[in-house]
Symmetry: C2
Subunit: 198 residues, 2 copies
């Protein structure tokens, strides 16, 4: 145990995800050894993010005003919507520069084991957005794991009767990977989704 | 890239030791999702530690006043001094409840590759503390790695002529470990330091 303030900081840091007691201690001593202005910047970044950042009224992405940068961008396509679990997925897709439409962030995936049902996600808001018929395609880009697949299946069942086109991201071998090390499910999906080249 | 404040926080978190871009992002979203009062507590713990915590004038350990808790404790032995690299080593030794003396924190180890020489450590202050002859034994408890060993050798050479007893922590097999998995240097030390039991 350390003296008051150091131990308090270690305790607070230990509540952050992925920070165990050892890392918390290491970070606390780093902070102690760091220039006061740099430390102040970190403390301010933490408070500022809470004060200033909210979620986009339209899509649920992080935003600093009512609408996020993407929803506010009039150059983005308005007839295609990509449904993701979290704001970080938006960033990942934006990095590809392949997609020019808008997003809808669910805020998680259906996960009954952890008590997350469809009502806990922004599914109602998704249906509202689809209401005016302007959106022609919904690309479901949930995580390729059990919860993501369950969410995708749930959404597909709900969207198909509405007459909107629904698509899923392709499953297959990761680019730059090694066929030998692909798990059997991924390899199975790669066969299933094979494309003729001649 | 995220909008302003989120990206600022991710950047600031990314400067902390052991926090890569993915962890920084994860922590930032955790902070976004956390209750404002909890977040405020974290930000305050960071600023408080810089405002309130200093280093003990005597031993160099972390302290909230001129002297640390251990130097201020009159029940601690005054004739034995344990020399460690960092305040976290003090905490580790205190946890054993084996040691009742005081400490001297060097603030690092001799590491020429990273430009840390004897003058960058609190060695001068150590010699001053030994000046009045009250200390009979100095236990060198630097890390059992190259830098720690170099520091220990340097200190030993300097302390022996002063007539003070110098000792080192024992090297050997870690308790609860597996002999098979011990590296050869540790196992060699364990042989070298073997004790007769009959």
């Amino acid at each position: 145990m350390y003296d008051g303030a150091v131990q308090d900081l270690i305790d607070e840091l230990g509540h952050l995800p992925g920070i165990g007691p050892k890392s918390a201690q290491r970070i606390a001593f780093h902070i102690l050894a760091t220039d006061a202005t740099d430390v102040q910047r970190l403390a301010e970044a933490i408070t500022t993010v809470k004060e200033r950042v909210r979620f986009c009224d339209t899509c649920g992405n992080v935003a600093e005003s009512e609408q996020c940068r993407i929803c506010a961008d009039t150059r983005r396509l308005t007839d295609v919507l990509c449904v993701v679990e979290e704001p970080k997925d938006v960033v990942a897709i934006e990095r590809t520069r392949e997609y020019r439409g808008r997003y809808h962030v669910l805020g998680g995936a259906i996960d009954p084991m952890n008590g997350v049902g469809p009502d806990d996600l922004r599914i109602r808001q998704l249906l509202t957005r689809l209401g005016d018929g302007a959106i022609e395609e919904v690309i479901i880009a949930t995580d390729p794991n059990i919860e993501g697949e369950a969410t995708a299946t749930y959404l597909t069942r709900m969207l198909v009767p509405m007459g909107v086109g629904v698509s899923r991201l392709a499953s297959g071998l990761p680019v730059g990977g090694d066929l030998e090390y692909a798990d059997e499910v991924t390899l199975g999906r790669a066969f299933e989704g094979r494309r003729r080249v001649t």
